[in-house]
C-alpha cells in the first residue's frame, strides 16, 4: 500500500496530538492511542503535511523532495514509502478509504 503512488494518506485525529520540539528531534503524544512517539525531522514533516491536507504518496514525496532539496530518485520514493508504512503501523496516519 505504502509504495502505491496514487494512495491517498491522511492523519488520524491530529487535533489530539501534542508536540515537543527538541532541535533535530520531535516528541508527539497521541491522545487517540495514549502513546508517545519520538520522531526525527523527516517523519515529523510527513505528519505535519498530512495533518494539514490529505495527500497522495506521490504528491507528498514530491513536496518533501522539494523541501529537503533532494532529487526525486527511486531511493527517495522508497524512503518516504517506508516512513508512511511505519507511521501507519503507529496508528498516526492511514490510507483514505474511498
Amino acid at each position: 500500500m505504502a509504495d502505491n503512488a496514487s494512495t491517498q494518506w491522511q492523519a488520524i485525529r491530529p487535533e489530539l496530538w501534542i508536540w515537543a520540539d527538541w532541535e533535530a528531534d520531535y516528541g508527539i503524544y497521541d491522545g487517540g492511542t495514549g502513546e508517545t512517539h519520538l520522531l526525527s525531522e523527516l517523519p515529523a514533516e510527513v505528519l505535519r503535511q498530512l495533518s494539514r491536507h490529505v495527500m497522495t504518496a506521490a504528491a507528498l514525496t514530491a513536496n518533501l523532495a522539494s523541501l529537503c532539496e533532494v532529487e526525486m530518485a527511486p531511493a527517495w520514493t522508497r524512503k518516504i514509502g517506508g516512513i508512511l508504512s511505519e507511521l501507519a503501523d503507529l496508528e498516526l496516519i492511514e490510507p483514505v478509504r474511498l
Binding site: I18, A20, W22, E23, Y29, T36, L38
Partner: protein
C-alpha cells in the same frame, strides 16, 4: 509539635491509640501499630518531622499488625494494611520496619497521581534541583546519600515529585534504604551518617537505612526549581564521565522511568516536556565519590550550560 516531642510526652507508647499522624513531604501519614521497634525507628529517623495530635486529613492510612493464630508466635509475621487492603504477603516480624518503608513507597507510587512521579533520587543546591533517575541497582540511592552529606539537600532518594502546575520539585525526604555492598561503602565514606539496624535476608537483600539529615526534614515543604537531569550508572573502576545528552533521549528515558507517566496521559507529556525544557541533561558513569562529587558540584556551580 514534632514526632520526637510526641514520643517524649509518651504519646506513642501503649500502641499510639488512634495511630500517630506525621508529615512526609507533602503527605500526612497515619500509622497504627503496637509494635514498639517500628515506632522507635520511626522516631529515630523522623524525629524532627511535624506530628499531629488533632484529627487530620490523612493521605495514607496505614496499619502494621501481627496476625492472629499460630503465626503470631511461630515464625512470627507482620502484615501491612492501607485502608482496607493488604497489598503484600506478610513479612517476617523482624523485617517490619522495611515493610513499613516499602509499603509507604508503594502507597505513594500508586495513589499520588496529582504529581508526575519519577523514580529518581533528587537533591538540591542553592534552590536548584538535581534529578537522578535510575533503575534499581544503578547506585542512585548510594549517590544520593553521598550528595546529601556533601553540600546538597536531600529531597528524596526514591521519588521525583513534580508539582502541578508550577513544575517545581516537591521534597519527600525519607530514610534511605542502602542495600548490600552500599552499606559498607557509605559507612566507610560517610562516618558522620547515622545508619539504623541491618535487616538481613529481606526480599531485597540486606538493607540498612540512613537517617535523613535533620535539615532536609525541617525543610520538607520547601520546593526546588528543577535544573539538571543526570542519569547515573555505577561501573566499577570507571572514571567519572559526565556527558551532555540530547533532550529527546532524556525525555524517552525519563518517561520510562516514571511511575505514572502513562496514567497521566496528555498531562504527563506536557509536564515532562516542560521539565526537560527547564533542565540540562547528562549521562553519568562513575565509580568513585572523590571524583563524581566534585564533577556534580562543578556542574551546579557552573550555572546553566548549553546541552547538545
Amino acid at each position: 509539635m514534632t514526632l520526637a516531642d510526641l514520643a517524649a510526652a509518651g504519646a506513642l507508647t501503649g500502641g499510639a491509640a488512634g495511630g500517630v499522624c506525621f508529615r512526609t513531604g507533602p503527605f500526612i501519614t497515619r500509622l497504627e501499630t503496637r509494635f514498639a521497634p517500628v515506632l522507635s525507628l520511626l522516631v529515630r529517623f523522623y524525629g524532627e518531622t511535624e506530628a499531629f495530635t488533632t484529627p487530620q486529613i490523612v493521605n495514607f492510612n496505614i496499619a502494621l499488625h501481627r496476625p492472629l493464630g499460630p503465626r503470631r508466635w511461630w515464625r512470627a509475621q507482620m502484615r501491612f494494611r492501607i485502608e482496607d487492603t493488604e497489598p503484600f504477603e506478610p513479612y517476617p516480624l523482624s523485617h517490619s520496619y522495611p515493610l513499613f518503608e516499602w509499603g509507604l513507597n508503594w502507597s505513594i507510587a500508586t495513589r499520588s497521581n496529582h504529581y508526575l512521579m519519577l523514580h529518581a533520587g533528587v537533591v538540591e543546591r542553592a534552590g536548584r534541583a538535581l534529578i537522578l533517575p535510575a533503575v534499581p541497582g544503578s547506585g542512585k540511592s548510594t549517590l544520593s546519600t553521598a550528595l546529601a552529606f556533601r553540600g546538597w539537600r536531600l529531597l528524596s532518594d526514591e521519588f521525583g515529585l513534580i508539582e502541578r502546575p508550577s513544575g517545581r520539585v516537591m521534597p519527600l525526604p525519607r530514610a534511605i534504604p542502602l542495600k548490600n555492598r552500599s552499606i559498607d561503602v557509605i559507612r566507610a565514606y560517610l562516618p558522620e551518617a547515622e545508619l539504623g539496624p541491618r535487616f538481613d535476608k529481606t526480599r531485597k537483600g540486606t538493607v540498612c537505612h540512613v537517617r535523613p539529615p535533620d535539615d532536609c526534614i525541617r525543610r520538607q515543604q520547601e520546593t526546588a526549581e528543577p535544573a539538571w537531569i543526570v542519569f547515573p550508572r555505577y561501573v566499577e573502576g570507571h572514571p567519572t564521565d559526565l556527558i551532555p545528552i540530547p533532550k529527546s533521549l532524556a525525555f524517552v528515558r525519563l518517561a520510562h522511568n516514571s511511575f505514572n507517566y502513562r496514567v497521566l496521559g496528555a498531562t504527563g507529556f506536557e509536564q515532562l516536556r516542560a521539565l526537560i525544557g527547564r533542565c540540562d541533561c547528562y549521562s553519568l558513569t562513575y565509580s568513585e565519590f572523590d571524583s563524581v562529587l566534585p564533577a556534580l558540584a562543578a556542574m551546579a556551580d557552573g550555572g546553566r550550560q548549553q546541552g547538545p
